[in-house]
């Protein structure tokens, strides 16, 4: 057969391989051109069908291996070129060729049916996508939050906290400072850090201005890490008006060394930036005891808590027993206990979030049911003809479920991408480290697929059960 050979540049797009003509060709407006693809490594050439929108001199971009456009050996050609794009491929251009070999099966028949009512299909897809986006982003944020809490606990690994018995949190606890010296004499204890914990709003900080202040002494470094100050220097504990800021909080507030922060009556100069890889990096200012007392109003003989580093982790229980049996009204908590409590709370929040998100995705599922039922209703005579031409009830039902799955897959993919984007936006907004992992993504994606299958079942049964003659009459 006569044809002109053109060179092509193959390239990938999201869903398909495209071939762009290097040569300029001339063709008539709206003409259906047939292109043969020649690949040196293959015995056979494959042809693809391309419709060029406008006539004239052009270098059209040709989509290949679409459901419509499959070569003479569809399975082989598709897989071959998905695996490898042959840069030496060339194109034979032919007009009015006879014979299209297609790859029409129930799957692509169903998927192409989705194109009939693009608006309605898009709405159903968006319904699922919104639900998947919600679940994906919330799961990623929850994972990030849990990871951050866990990291904070890791920083405190081996540390114990002495607080007033039954305190709601570290800011409400009051511990007598005389306990510090007693604890320092205990041979199981390596370091002791008295601390005042309080939460304050930065002047002019607005809604994002709430920070945790920890009044510390120089011994704080002994219980956390000797190298926790990344930039600048620690303050002298006798000074006032000095502060160390967590590295992520500094980034969030755009604060550097030497900057001044104002909290109520006190101005704080940033002398250093610390990093513990824990949650406090994003929330906390370390200040001198003197400033912490001024802001908290606590007298000199008390602090909020005493943080203890044991000589080894296995001494934690004996320290706890020593404190709680010798000093009435105090309790010793392990960071792990905090983590456990935190995890319990997070599990509850996660459950609530999943329920709310599931409602969203179920609404999306109802959208699919509606779309598919409308589709079945509109296509009732056509379904009758399918049955008249030999399609079984299960063939018809399967086709409807496949359409529904198609909506689920597209909606799931879009929702997953949107969910990742939303969680990354949240990462910037709330300064929470987000790790995109496969588990939450696959959970939400497969939830969408599962729901789309369920949503397709009822319309499929309806379609399958219509007697052929009633269907043809459109009843």
């Amino acid at each position: 057969m006569p044809y002109e050979t053109c060179n092509v540049n193959p390239y990938f797009t999201l869903l398909q391989i495209k071939f762009r003509l290097v040569n300029t060709i001339i063709f008539e407006s709206g003409n259906n051109l047939k292109f043969y693809l020649f690949f040196p490594q293959c015995k056979n050439s494959f042809f693809i069908n391309a419709r060029c929108g406008s006539g004239g001199v052009a270098r059209p971009s040709i989509s290949a291996f679409h459901a419509d456009d499959v070569g003479s050996n569809p399975a082989r050609s598709t897989f071959y070129y998905l695996n490898k794009i042959d840069k030496e491929a060339s194109l034979g251009l032919l007009n009015n060729d006879i014979g299209v070999i297609i790859n029409l099966n129930i799957f692509n028949f169903s998927i192409r049916n989705l194109r009939r009512r693009k608006g309605r299909t898009s709405l159903a897809i968006m319904g699922i996508a919104v639900g998947v986006m919600l679940i994906t982003s919330l799961l990623l944020i929850m994972d990030g939050l849990e990871g951050s809490i866990s990291q904070s606990v890791d920083v405190l690994s081996g540390n114990l906290i002495v607080q007033k018995e039954g305190s709601f949190d570290l800011t409400t606890s009051i511990v007598n400072v005389s306990l510090v010296e007693t604890l320092r004499n205990n041979p199981d204890i390596k370091a002791v850090s008295p601390e005042i914990h309080l939460a304050k709003r930065l002047d002019g900080g607005g809604i994002m201005g709430l920070v945790v202040l920890i009044g510390t002494t120089q011994s704080y470094g002994e219980v956390v890490s000797a190298s926790y100050i990344k930039f600048g220097t620690a303050f002298n504990e006798n000074e006032t008006g000095k502060a160390l800021i967590g590295i992520k909080l500094a980034e969030q507030l755009d604060i550097g060394l030497g900057d001044i922060l104002s909290i109520e009556s006190i101005k704080l100069e940033i002398t250093g930036i610390f990093e513990t890889n824990g949650f406090i990096d994003a929330t906390t200012l370390l200040v001198t005891m003197s400033d912490a007392r001024t802001l908290s109003g606590l007298p000199k003989d008390v602090v909020s808590i005493i943080e203890i580093r044991a000589t080894s982790p296995d001494r934690a229980s004996s320290i706890k027993e020593y404190v709680e049996s010798n000093f009435v009204g105090y309790e010793v908590i392990f960071p792990q206990e905090l983590l456990d409590e935190g995890e319990e709370i997070m599990a509850t929040i996660r459950g609530v979030i999943l329920i709310i998100s599931s409602i969203a995705i179920i609404i999306g599922g109802i959208g699919i049911v509606n779309t598919m039922l409308m589709s079945v209703l509109e296509r009732t005579p056509e379904i009758g003809v399918l049955k008249a031409t030999g399609w079984s009830n299960s063939n018809v039902g399967y086709s409807i479920v496949l359409e529904s799955i198609g909506i689920g897959i597209i909606g799931g993919l879009i929702g997953t991408i949107l969910g990742i984007s939303a969680s990354l936006v949240a990462e910037d907004l709330i300064n929470l480290p987000i790790k995109v992992t496969i588990l939450p993504l696959s959970q939400s994606f497969f939830l969408a697929i599962g729901l789309s299958i369920l949503s397709g079942i009822y319309p499929a049964i309806r379609a399958a059960r219509i007697p052929p003659i009633a269907a043809i009459k459109g009843e």
């Binding site: 029409l104 099966n105 129930i106 009758g384 003809v385 049955k387 008249a388 031409t389 030999g390 063939n395």
Partner: protein, 225 residues
């Protein structure tokens, strides 16, 4: 040799208390490779009879036998196989799938079974009905006559022994209708397909091997040309 045997066929529809007999004791045989026309006024039972013969509907009593198989007692999962292998339907409305090309529409009955042979057959059928240049056009790009020719190809793709045509020229102008009927005659003569045709057109009926006239669900006349 008779390919279709209809015996005491009755079909009743109930509308509340009222029972309407669409078919009332129809008996007839159809000889293989014949071209037969059904005529009669609207509501005389022509379409009901054709649907029973094609296994699309079930009788209230009596039986339809096609190629030795009793359709009346066959379960639905057998009936669809019979429809696929032995019968081709052509309707007044073409019912082509709008998202598929003419070529793909012809292949629709074969989708659940697939096979390269069907594609070759579809190509030959397109040539047979002089539609090879329109194979990549979607139904919206085809005229009524062309769409009906695609529907005929779709009915023939499984090489059925019997073609059942229900007022297939109803949506076509006279000239196009005659072209379609000439095509059917060609199919009957060249391919040996038995054709049962419902028509209101006496000229068309007169051109067939046998004319059966129905009235009130009964055969009132059976003429052989």
């Amino acid at each position: 040799m008779d390919i279709i045997k209809v015996k005491d066929l009755t079909k009743e529809y109930r509308f509340g208390e009222t029972t309407v007999k669409a078919l009332n004791g129809v008996n007839m045989n159809v000889v293989q490779k014949s071209l037969m026309s059904f005529v009669g006024s609207s509501g005389s039972g022509k379409t009901t009879l054709l649907n029973m013969i094609g296994g699309l509907d079930r009788p209230s009593s009596g039986q339809v036998e096609m190629d030795g198989i009793n359709l009346s007692s066959s379960p639905e999962n057998e009936l669809h196989k019979i429809r696929r292998s032995k019968v081709g339907f052509i309707f007044q409305h073409f019912y082509l799938i709008p998202t598929l090309t003419a070529f793909e529409n012809i292949l629709v009955p074969t989708i659940p079974i697939r096979g390269q042979a069907f594609e070759e057959r579809a190509k030959n059928l397109l040539s047979y009905v002089s539609m090879e240049k329109r194979q990549n056009h979607r139904p919206s790009q085809l005229s009524g006559g062309e769409q009906q020719r695609v529907a005929i190809c779709r009915a023939l793709i499984n090489e059925p022994e019997v073609l059942l045509c229900d007022e297939i020229t109803g949506e076509l102008d006279t000239e196009t209708g005659e072209q379609i009927l000439r095509l059917l005659k060609k199919i009957n003569q060249e391919r040996g397909t038995t054709i049962l045709l419902i028509t209101h057109n006496e000229k068309i009926a007169a051109d067939s091997d046998r004319i059966i006239t129905l009235s009130d669900g009964r055969i009132v006349s059976d003429k052989t040309n």
